[in-house]
Subunit: 181 residues, 2 copies
């Protein structure tokens, strides 16, 4: 309780601990659940849990491993393609949540295989690439961001779901910080 | 994406969909994970994922079902006992996370059995109790709060874990809203 804040230092094995759990945690939350829990959002221009799973799929296809490979390559130009945060609005729209969850799980599993095959060590972690907006970034920062991005979206999924009952909790609303975020 | 916000109306079956998933979702996130992910927090006087599981256990023992029973009883005085938000700081301190996760899962499963045996219908949902600070509250509000409380703590667990890498993500910090909460 009174422990001072000391955050963690990046270690590839501990990063993988999160990356391999994410698809299962999201599947546990969403598989078999009612349509309203899946498709409702937090208001105009916000995402539903269903949309978020589509976004995670797009990241597996175009973001994390493709960018890691650019960083580790001999390419002269190591500038990443911009990531399309809205691709899932055009793709996936007809797929069931079960299809999306299975697709995310498969893609993540392949990407973790690929990550392990890259045999990341400390010297590789300092490899650089160029983010189209943020400028020079390192592989260590990319992999840390992958982990935080996963956790952030699990947090978002549960927040979106919590808000579905914001008018149902009555006076308890005062104690439920999640409804104010 | 452009769907207007329309939150859900409480339905017991849809509430149970969340309540029965929570222990499994938290187990999927935390079982077998490194000590640092489990025991680090967000700073002084904040909770670690380990602490949060202890808090959820205490709620199963003293909060939700005991309060529901008071509301449905013939008691003259339907004022609840105050809930101890810090009980887990005294209890559980020597238990492994596996023990805590198993205990939470067992207690939740028993409580859902008990909830189902109460055969909640619309007339029972309007039963009242008296919260020591908030005043009169209904069974529907209590059960909605149970659901939101679950989702809020899953959101918190993943936020606390995300913050462990807040110094590791470099310039990407600007895009990761979870690190600012």
């Amino acid at each position: 309780m009174s422990k001072k804040f000391k955050s963690m230092t990046f270690e590839i094995d501990k990063a993988i601990e999160i990356l391999e759990r994410t698809p299962l945690a999201i599947e546990t939350l969403l598989k078999g659940i009612s349509e309203e829990w899946l498709k409702n959002n937090e208001g105009e221009n916000t995402w539903s849990p269903y949309t978020i799973v589509g976004h995670l799929i797009h990241g597996e296809k175009t973001d994390w491993i493709p960018r890691a490979k650019i960083m580790l390559s001999d390419a002269q130009n190591k500038t990443f393609e911009p990531f399309d945060r809205f691709a899932q609005m055009r793709e996936n729209q007809d797929k069931s949540i079960d299809e999306l969850l299975a697709e995310f799980k498969d893609l993540r599993s392949q990407n973790l295989q690929e990550l392990k095959s890259l045999q990341i060590n400390n010297s590789k972690l300092s490899s650089k690439g160029v983010h189209p907006e943020l400028g020079e970034v390192s592989l260590e920062e990319l992999l840390s961001t992958w982990v935080v991005h996963d956790l952030g979206h699990i947090s978002q999924i549960t927040r979106v779901m919590a808000k579905q009952y914001k008018n149902e909790v009555g006076a308890w609303k005062a104690y439920l910080g999640i409804l104010k975020k």
